[in-house]
């Protein structure tokens, strides 16, 4: 049945192909180009306007920023990827009995779903790039930093290298040639989870993280 449906639909579309102009001459949509300092400012202010926290840190000392924030938020544990790009730095910076305790889990989600859903307080991940115009983090989750880590725990820390901060989404797609090969899942994250479904009143932390904290390495 499905195959018949497929052929019938495609046949109808082909038979009635429209006669209007289908030229794809690109009109140039004006795109902002900010110097790096302004890019960071724009990125920071737009993310802060949706109640995300953005902190600038030195590439050698960012774990201090992470630690102090994690302590301030009174987190019991912090999920991190031992084999991910931040793994070694975090592990080296943490003392054995230091709070919050570090959690590393390399098993598939089905094997520890309950604890991910109901016991993990926070996760820290890296990010591939970011977008100044819209205050967006670009994540291509990996086997080390799975996609649920940026979604399920109530607090999400993201570490961003300021060199990876682009002006616009279009620029990221073009510069990194995304059409050459897309990952399983690519994400733009632009704040903590939110909704305005009740009387157009903004409420944060609906289904995703309530807190999004970005540490920018400059």
């Amino acid at each position: 049945m499905t195959n018949n449906a497929r052929d019938a639909i495609l046949q109808r579309l082909q038979n009635s192909q429209p006669s209007f102009d289908n030229s794809d001459k690109s009109v140039s949509v004006e795109a902002p180009e900010w110097p790096i300092k302004e890019r960071i400012e724009q990125f920071k202010s737009i993310l802060e306007s949706v109640r995300a926290e953005v902190l600038l840190a030195h590439p050698d000392h960012w774990t201090d920023t992470l630690k102090s924030l994690a302590k301030k938020k009174q987190l019991n544990n912090l999920l991190f990827a031992k084999k991910g790009p931040l793994g070694k730095t975090i592990e080296d910076a943490w003392d054995v009995n230091e709070q919050p305790s570090l959690v590393n889990n390399e098993r598939p989600i089905s094997e520890w779903k309950e604890s991910l859903f109901f016991h993990i307080d926070a996760a820290v991940t890296s990010s591939r790039a970011a977008i100044a115009e819209t205050g967006s983090l670009v994540l291509w989750p990996t086997e080390h930093e799975p996609r649920s880590w940026s979604l399920v725990p109530p607090v999400h820390f993201v570490v961003l290298d300021a060199d990876k901060l682009y002006n616009t989404f279009a620029e990221v797609v073009e510069h990194e040639q995304w059409q050459q090969g897309m990952p399983t899942n690519a994400l733009l994250i632009s704040g903590p989870s939110k909704s305005a479904d009740i009387e157009q009143t903004l409420a944060y932390g609906v289904h995703g993280p309530t807190d999004l904290i970005v540490i920018v390495l400059t």
Binding site: R6, L151, D197, Q200, Y204
Partner: protein, 472 residues
Amino acid sequence: MQQSAEFHTRVEHALANGQIKTSFRSAMDGLMAKRKAAFPDPEALETLRFRGAQIRANSLSKLHELLEQLENNCHKNGIQVHWAERIEDANNIVLTIMQNHQADLLIKGKSMVSEEMELNRFLEQHGIECIESDLGEYILQLAGEPPSHIVAPAIHKSRQQIAQLFNEKFPDIPYSDDVDRLTRNAREILRKKFYAARVGLSGVNFAVAETGTLCLVENEGNGRMCTTVPPVHIAVTGIEKVVEKLEHIPPLLKLLCRSATGQAITTYFNMITSPRKQGEKDGPEEIHLVLLDNGRSRIYEDDELITTLRCIRCGACMNHCPVYARIGGHAYGSTIPGPIGSILEPQKAGLDKLGDLPSASTLCGACAEVCPVHIPIPKLLNRLRFERTRNDHAGATLGQSSGRTVMEAGIWKGWSWVHSQPRLYRLAMYIITRLRKLLPQRIGPWTQVRKAPHIAQKTLHELALKEGFNDK
């Protein structure tokens, strides 16, 4: 005729309902102001709208090629593609997938196509529980109501009504009409459902042919939950949602977010290209894409009406529509309300069923002025009014000429006959102007709120002659 009477009854109820009036008016005012602020530079906005219209028109112009390309790339990526002519077919495809996995719970992200399919009702008849996870949709599911806006589905409900509803359905949770508290309660209830469900369903905002990527736009994270946590993900979409290239996505995303809610971007933009790969720890192991026609390929046949299919579902046309703001979404009686619904839905269901909708407009033009992809909605409303009464059977529109009445057709025939005979025309005008006092003072609904028009003592022709204009 019965459908027409039901439509008018719904409109009268809506007009008499003070809460609809206040909640929609204030919400629409807010959304209009936010959109305006999101596009501070009118010139840049026009360029972007032009680009958006061009991208959508270009995609539609080669739709069959792009759908084949999308299917090929999805297959390569491991996504299974299903085709459905009608909503029954699409529903059965979803049911079969559910049954193959012995799943009795479906967790759903927001999807207007699943509303069009009435999927929840269908699956429930087969013993499968559906849970809406978008906060607004979840509230409506508890209330047993359809959405009244495509972006903000529960816009017609007050905080107090929602609090009352939660209290009735979940008496163990303490009553609260605080928005943060209500949101937190919904989070806790639904988190258990995300945790338990074996199958998640979502819509699709854009499908990219070149890479086989499904894009989802959302703020809450429920769409990501539905497409990340359950082992099986089903995406349902209309065949018109495909775009050619990945580079087409950034301008469309910008137009969609800013036109819909005035946000620079939504919290999450989720691009799904394949099921879980070897070594990956999460994400669905199976992804199914259901491509639904349901009348879209018929709309596609008409070179003018085809522009209906450019729509990216931002809702700006309803936010700016004076009729929608006054009667709300439910009065339309169609899945998608407002100006876009009034052109799209009668074409899908047939003018014999929803033929009143194209008349539920003042043709003020606000919808076309804000449409991010330049759909000439007022022109298409007029076109469908014509389709409803034409009798030459020359168009593809479903339910064509269903609104044609012998009396109305006779009146216009007489009118055109009189106007083609100068002597007869003058005679008729002479009689009408002299007997003007005898014309009826009550003319149906027109005179309920207005005075009947007064006909002048003399025709313009007579006056012109008197002023010395030459008759020749």
